[in-house]
């Protein structure tokens, strides 16, 4: 029952899970970053679908209708807007880190980077 009526949220948590596993398990740094983005957008989808109400309008007040029954919930949209900015900032920062890391170790595979790094300290 809930699976059908809540299918958007189900999709959202699936996306979250895929992104999460990418971030946790993928060895490639760039794909980790993409995974992080997917994870976050999963949460945003979850939030936004929570604010959606059937048969209403987008929350931009036109024609002077100020009835709360006429518009969808604007709160999740605002939160998601904030969230998107956060995730793009983090993405940019992670990419900058990636560039530096690649300059030093010439690979994106974290396993190899750890190996090189641990030998570096021994030297």
């Amino acid at each position: 029952m809930g699976l059908i009526s809540n299918y958007e949220e189900v999709f959202a948590v699936i996306l979250f899970g895929i992104g999460f596993s990418n971030l946790l398990f993928n060895r490639n740094l760039l794909k980790k970053i993409i995974g992080f983005n997917i994870m976050d957008s999963g949460v945003y989808l979850f939030l936004a679908s929570m604010g959606y109400i059937d048969g209403r309008m987008a929350p931009i007040i036109t024609d002077g209708i100020t009835d709360a029954e006429a518009y969808i919930n604007p709160v999740p949209s605002g939160l998601v807007l904030t969230g998107i900015v956060v995730s793009v900032s983090v993405t940019a920062m992670m990419l900058a880190l990636t560039i530096r890391l690649y300059r030093r170790y010439n690979t994106l595979n974290l396993d190899e980077i750890y190996m090189f790094a641990s030998r570096e300290t021994k030297k």
């Binding site: 809930g2 009526s5 809540n6 958007e8 949220e9 189900v10 948590v13 699936i14 979250f16 899970g17 895929i18 999460f20 596993s21 946790l24 398990f25 979850f46 679908s49 929570m50 604010g51 959606y52 109400i53 059937d54 987008a58 929350p59 931009i60 007040i61 036109t62 100020t66 709360a68 029954e69 518009y71 919930n73 604007p74 709160v75 999740p76 949209s77 605002g78 807007l81 904030t82 900015v85 956060v86 900032s89 983090v90 940019a92 920062m93 900058a96 560039i99 530096r100 595979n109 974290l110 396993d111 190899e112 750890y114 190996m115 090189f116 790094a117 641990s118 030998r119 021994k122 030297k123």
Partner: protein, 313 residues
């Protein structure tokens, strides 16, 4: 774990440099006892173990049976964890209040007031803009600080003190006098900039606002840079204008919001005119704040690009 790692590295350390430099074949130096340690490790299957083991699964082992076994176990493990995690979240999602109905707990008096009184209290027709820049402005201020922090971190990471080396490496990236690109950019650049400003200035009237408009402006600036090269772009956008713009916009944002929070908490009337809802010049502080956010975002994004590309303006 640490001791095993130490042993391992001690035995292989003297060849490490060769491998890094590509002088030695990685597979040559797989000491016998390390296989056993690696073998031992693969048996321990918990998530924690595999995480801390990362430092142990080097390129030198990628061809061995043990490594393949290990990576297969790792993959299987990741799939299992992923499935468990997703399943539990899906079950949770099924149990949530059903979507799309107006009986959700989230549809309470909060959005009601945002919609019903938003226009008269904030002057913004776009309820979302009114909400993020007036009702819940502290969050949005935090958001612009996140952006600021991110651009500072990128500067810390990638800003080169000596640009000549960076310029040399950048030569490969530079498009070489591409006529089509230039012609297209000279048409597109003004259009993009105008559209960006339109989105910013109409943030309180329609969809859009400081952030999306700023992103559009930023991409316009990047296009300008790509088409006309660094020298021309530097006349318009350089580190000095970046610092001045971002600093002053952020300071204005900080002071304006600080003023409105202070007066709000102390119940002082601000006498900021809200104007006639629907006009461009309306809705009090929202319009100037949108412009500030837009400028900050545009410059931030341009800076990201420039820093990524050659580490300096």
């Amino acid at each position: 774990m640490a001791r095993i790692r130490d042993n391992y590295e001690r035995s292989a350390a003297y060849r490490a440099e060769k491998v890094i430099k590509g002088e030695a074949e990685p597979l040559d130096f797989l000491p016998e006892e390390d296989r056993t340690t690696e073998d031992k490790l693969t048996i321990e299957k918990t998530v924690k173990e595999s995480e801390s083991e990362l430092s142990l699964s080097p390129e030198t082992l990628t061809e061995t049976v043990e490594f393949k076994l290990y990576s297969r176990i790792y993959k299987a493990l990741s799939v299992v964890v992923c499935i468990i995690f997703i399943t539990s979240l899906v079950i949770t999602a099924i149990h949530l209040p059903s979507l799309g109905s107006d009986l959700n707990p989230a549809n309470n008096e909060v959005p009601e007031r945002y919609v019903e009184k938003g226009v008269e209290e904030t002057g913004a027709i776009n309820t979302v803009a009114g909400m993020i820049l007036d009702y819940r402005a502290f969050d949005t201020f935090g958001e612009s600080c996140v952006l600021f922090a991110a651009v500072i971190c990128v500067l810390i990471l990638l800003k080169e003190s000596d640009l000549s080396a960076a310029e040399h490496s950048d030569r490969q990236n530079e498009p070489k006098n591409d006529g089509i690109l230039k012609a297209a950019a000279s048409i597109l650049f003004p259009v993009i900039i105008i559209f960006g400003f339109y989105v910013i200035l109409n943030g309180h009237l329609s969809a859009g606002g400081g952030f999306s408009g700023g992103a559009i402006l930023g991409s316009g600036m990047i296009l300008y840079l790509l088409a006309f090269g660094f020298e021309k772009a530097h006349k318009l956008f350089n580190y000095k204008t970046f610092a001045v713009t971002v600093c002053s916009a952020q300071i204005f944002y900080c002071i304006a919001k600080g003023f409105s929070f202070f007066t709000g908490a102390n119940e002082i009337e601000t006498h900021i005119p809200l104007g006639n809802p629907g006009d461009i010049l309306s809705s009090g502080l929202i319009l100037p704040l949108n412009i500030c956010v837009g400028l900050v975002v545009a410059y931030t994004i341009y800076t990201f690009y420039v820093m990524f590309r050659r580490g300096g303006f």
